[in-house]
């Protein structure tokens, strides 16, 4: 039986944003097993994706070590690389879908399959990009009025329409580290995940802001519990945050930073009704786990490309009142963020389901929706021209796509 492989060698956020395309591909060809190649630290998450058959790890460090060694000659290096690949016993793939626009992804795709879709489909050394990959590069450079979500652009890159339903990651049965169980007291509680860290320093929200948000949640949302989410790198910050909080709120906070594996995090996020954070992997993961996400998008984060995928998520886009480039008629800063006012109470009010003003001096509120062309965000519930233009984009890019590979449609 022919098998297909999807290659995503980027970080957590990109892997989570790849779940829609994996879902769509599997739905389009349910009889064809679909495997995933992802960075080794993310394998445990990939294994939770319901649409994926097998997950293979990509050990970047091992390749780096092998390539940089001065100890061995090229003959031995090649032999080691061959052995390394053989150890993973990759099956023969009839097709490799590559989502990474860098040589490693392209080369990996060609090593593992004779037919490549996505960057590298014209050859492993051919810099010519397929239509969708070229489109993504262009919007990354021009930052125009694009409204096609990154997760949907991945679908386009793989010649498949977005999935009909928003993918969902259900909670695996994994034991949680002691002290990480969210309280169960019989009353209706609100669990809120707070994503403390971010891979890029410029996307980190100051600790003092989180402190204010946590206090406000505890104060204004009855029976609310706050789960601090982050990796090893956030462990110290989380402890400092706990230290700063008034004692009366401490029993409302569960510190999960550096204490969860990815499956454990998925299990915890499945219990959260809300997840709040900047444009980071755990925020997107929370959205895929069924929580409603509230993103604070500043610095280079753009709601229309990487807003939490699905329906009913909110994004506060920091975009007003400063010189910068134009995003849908609003100016967007591209330099390092210097936010004066954070939408703390506005976020609390959203969780309380109270009306908020969709525009502040610095922030715009966007709400996510979904149709056959994928996810999109609107302001004040208005469908503007750019949203409608997505259909044209899909049609135009499909025309340009490699006609040797037929567009697949979710069933």
């Amino acid at each position: 039986m022919s098998r297909a492989l999807l290659i995503q060698l980027a970080r957590l956020g990109d892997l989570v944003q790849s779940l829609p395309v994996l879902t769509a591909l599997q739905s389009a060809k349910p009889e064809r097993p679909l495997d995933l190649l992802c960075p080794s630290p993310l394998v445990a998450l990939g294994q939770l994706f319901p649409c994926v058959d097998r997950v293979y790890p990509w050990y970047g460090e091992q390749w780096h070590e092998l390539a940089r060694t001065k100890m061995t000659d090229c003959d031995q290096q090649l032999a080691q690389a061959t052995r390394y690949l053989a150890e993973y016993a990759f099956p023969a793939y009839s097709m490799a879908y590559n989502l990474n626009n860098h040589p490693r992804g392209m080369l990996a795709a060609h090593v593992l399959s004779g037919l490549v879709v996505g960057p590298g489909e014209y050859g492993p050394m051919n810099q010519r990009l397929p239509a969708w990959a070229g489109y993504l590069r262009q919007i990354a450079q021009d930052r125009g009025g694009n409204r096609v979500h990154l997760a949907d652009a991945f679908c386009g890159m793989c010649q498949v329409l977005p999935p009909l339903d928003v993918p969902y990651l259900k909670a695996p049965e994994v034991p949680l580290t002691s002290g990480l169980g969210l309280p169960v007291n019989g009353e209706s509680s609100t669990f809120i995940g707070i994503v403390l860290g971010a891979g890029d320093a410029e996307r980190r929200v100051p600790l003092s802001v989180w402190q204010v948000l946590i206090a406000a949640c505890a104060e204004y949302i009855p029976q609310s519990y706050l789960l601090l989410i982050g990796g090893e790198g956030e462990r110290e910050a989380a402890l400092a945050l706990e230290h700063r909080l008034p004692a009366k709120y401490l029993n409302r906070v569960v510190n999960g930073c550096g204490r969860t594996s990815l499956p454990q995090l998925v299990a915890l996020l499945n219990r959260c009704q809300w997840v709040v954070g900047s444009d980071t992997g755990p925020l997107h993961l929370g959205a895929m786990c069924g929580a409603r996400a509230i993103g604070w998008y500043f610095s280079r984060a753009r709601v229309h490309e990487t807003g939490p995928y699905g329906v009913g998520h909110y994004v506060w886009q920091h975009d007003q009142g400063r010189p910068g480039e134009i995003l849908d008629g609003c100016e967007l800063r591209t330099e390092e963020s210097s936010v004066a006012h954070w939408p703390v109470m506005e976020t609390v009010n959203l969780i309380r389901d109270e009306g908020v003003n969709s525009r502040t001096d610095e922030w715009d509120l966007w709400i996510s929706n979904k149709d056959e062309w994928g996810a999109f965000y609107t302001r004040d519930g208005l469908l503007d021209e750019a949203v409608l233009h997505r259909k044209d984009t899909w049609e135009a890019l499909s025309q340009l796509a490699n006609q040797d590979i037929r567009m697949e449609v979710s069933k």
Binding site: G60, W63, H64, L66, A67, R68, T69, K70, M71, D73, C74, D75, Q76, Q77, L78, A79, A81, T82, L85, P103, R104, L107, A108, H110, V111, Y122, G123, P124, M125, N126, Q127, R128
Partner: protein, 605 residues
């Protein structure tokens, strides 16, 4: 007796002459005693060569540690005999086909050993090296391609001098047959005496066919000098320190951009311990040629653990001091001359007027020179004094040239060549001659290389480099004047001696010689890395011959000249030349993949 007889039979099969010699020697070198375990142990000069408790177990632990380093294809050369427990243990742990040689410096000790310890079952697979040091070194060179030397120190210490001599001989023999090219990054100082030496080293290494990247920090000198405008002493030192640290990071960036096989730093090179540590983490081997008097400049003590290899221009006390301070490998490497620069030259009449003299001295105004040189003033000959740092010259003011300006190398050559008697006094911060004077300064070699006659103060290491038929050696300051007077009147003798000194330089004391020695030493100390490359293992023809593991590589390798050094990057470059439309096979794709990761440098700094 039974053990000896059986051992002799074993040895006779390997080397009948050795077997016969063993029966002739009286023995009695080792005092054999029973260890607590019941096995025999040995004592020499009241020191145990093996454990007094359990020599077998001790040898096993020693061998377990060493065997980790041994690589396939290497010949293991073992120093230290004793009762051979360590040899047996290592032999049993090594693959059956791996060659092993034991250097036997003393047949009497060996005879004692084979009288009590059986060679059966392992001794047949050991080659016993005996004879003169030179013979033993030649045997190793002839029979082994890649050599790893291991020393069992408790037994080796008994014959320390012999083994040291053996190492040097072997190094020099191995250096003669090096054919492979390394990529060596030479890191020089911002300024000072080691700066021209860095240039000579670069020339020599290039001349030997190696790829050299020179990180030349001298363009930063103007900026460094400009820091003198900071008047506060402590502030200035701090800023100078920071600047040096920045230059160290610049050096690291060069290493990251084009990683060398080996970094060779000259003394005063601005490298910090943090940067050296990072190089070690990135598996870049580092060496320092410390061309300074270790007693005067002592910063090496803080840097000693930072380099993998140290080379110094002094012996004995210097080597001991470095080893005690924690140097992993330290070797004597004297200075030299570059005959392309330090050479005889025709002097025009005009130049002779400016630079010529009966007697000249070129150098900085150290205390001993200020004290000794005035005796040459006001004699019945012309005397010229050249060089800087001669503030308040006193009686030397009348002979000081160019107002005490720094003299560059081309001018130095003119002075040396236009002078009848060149005075060469080694610097010393006390009066008279340095009582501990051992290392020989570069000027000695440079004057000799120019074919210029010199009167030089005695150094303990000088006789091994030049003899008294080549230059006039004085043992005390009061010999200076009469020696100069004598030789001024003997031009033919001066000429003959100077020619001999130049001949000696060309035979043995050029930077090319030094770099061969240097590479022999690092290759011997690192047989699986530098040694293998130096022996041509990375050349295309050698790779083709060994491409058993990846025959698909052979056509790619055949695109290179047989003697080209080929690395992954070179193969990848050729693959990329095929152009964007090319279809690549799996091996080509894997090579490009590794090359992509090779180019990743973000974690270097």
């Amino acid at each position: 007796m039974d053990v000896l007889k059986k051992n002799i039979d074993i040895l006779r099969d390997q080397d009948p002459i050795l077997a016969a010699q063993i029966l002739q020697v009286p023995g009695g070198t080792l005092s054999i005693q029973p260890a607590k375990s019941g096995m025999p142990t040995a004592v020499v000069n009241s020191r145990y060569l093996h454990s007094a408790y359990d020599p077998v177990r001790e040898a096993a632990s020693w061998a377990e540690e060493r065997v980790k380093d041994c690589q396939a294809g290497e010949t293991i050369v073992l120093l230290g005999v004793g009762l051979l427990y360590h040899v047996e243990a290592l032999r049993q742990m090594l693959p059956h086909d791996q060659h092993m040689m034991v250097v036997v410096p003393d047949l009497s000790e060996f005879a004692d050993c084979v009288s009590v310890r059986s060679l059966e079952g392992w001794g047949e697979r050991v080659m016993w090296l005996t004879g003169s040091i030179t013979d033993m070194a030649i045997q190793v060179t002839q029979k082994a391609k890649r050599v790893r030397i291991l020393s069992y120190d408790p037994a080796a210490t008994v014959h320390y001098d012999i083994y040291e001599h053996f190492r040097l001989q072997l190094r020099d023999h191995l250096a003669q047959r090096l054919s492979g090219a390394l990529h060596i990054m030479v890191i020089g100082p911002i300024y000072g005496g080691s700066l021209p030496i860095a240039r000579y080293v670069v020339n020599a290494l290039e001349g030997l066919g190696h790829r050299v990247s020179w990180v030349d920090h001298s363009p930063h000198y103007a900026g460094y000098q400009n820091l003198d405008t900071i008047r506060d002493h402590r502030l200035r030192l701090t800023v100078q320190q920071r600047m040096s640290e920045t230059l160290a990071v610049i050096s690291l960036a060069h290493v990251a951009e084009d990683p060398p096989d080996l970094v060779l730093a000259l003394s005063q090179a601005p490298l910090t311990m943090a940067v050296l540590e990072q190089m070690r983490r990135k598996k870049v081997l580092t060496a320092m040629w410390f061309v300074e008097n270790f007693r005067h400049l002592t910063y090496w003590q803080q840097m000693v653990s930072g380099y993998d290899f140290w080379f110094v221009m002094q012996q004995a006390a210097c080597l001991d001091a470095f080893r005690k301070a924690g140097a992993k490998q330290v070797s004597y490497l004297p200075l030299a001359a570059d005959p392309a620069i330090h050479q005889p030259m025709a002097i025009t009449q005009e130049a002779r007027y400016e630079f010529g003299a009966d007697v000249s001295f070129l150098g900085a105004g150290y205390r001993n020179r200020r004290q000794i040189l005035p005796s040459l003033v006001g004699q019945g000959w012309t005397f010229k004094l050249w060089g800087n740092e001669w503030e308040n010259p006193g009686p030397l003011a009348q002979v000081l040239q160019r107002g005490g300006a720094r003299i560059d190398t081309p001018t130095s050559m003119k002075i040396f060549n236009a002078t009848s008697v060149n005075i060469n006094l080694h610097s010393y911060t006390g009066n008279g001659f340095d009582p501990e004077g051992d290392g020989v300064n570069p000027r000695t070699f440079e004057l000799a290389s120019c074919g210029a006659f010199q009167v030089v103060d005695a150094r303990t290491l000088l006789p091994a480099l030049f003899d008294e038929s080549m230059m006039a050696v004085i043992n005390s300051p009061d010999q200076l004047l009469p020696t100069v007077q004598t030789f001024l009147h003997e031009p033919a003798r001066r000429l003959a001696m100077a020619e001999l000194s130049r001949k000696r330089v060309l035979e043995a004391h050029t930077y090319r010689h030094r770099m061969k020695t240097f590479l022999g030493a690092v290759g011997m100390a690192s047989p699986d890395r530098l040694g293998a490359i130096l022996q041509g293992d990375r050349q295309a023809e050698s790779l083709v011959a060994r491409s058993g593991q990846s025959p698909e590589l052979i056509p790619m390798l055949k695109e290179f000249l047989p003697t080209d050094r080929v690395e992954l990057v070179d193969v990848a470059k050729n693959i990329r030349k095929k152009g964007p439309e090319a279809r690549l096979n799996r091996e080509e794709l894997l090579i490009l993949m590794m090359d992509e990761y090779r180019q990743e440098k973000r974690d270097f700094l």
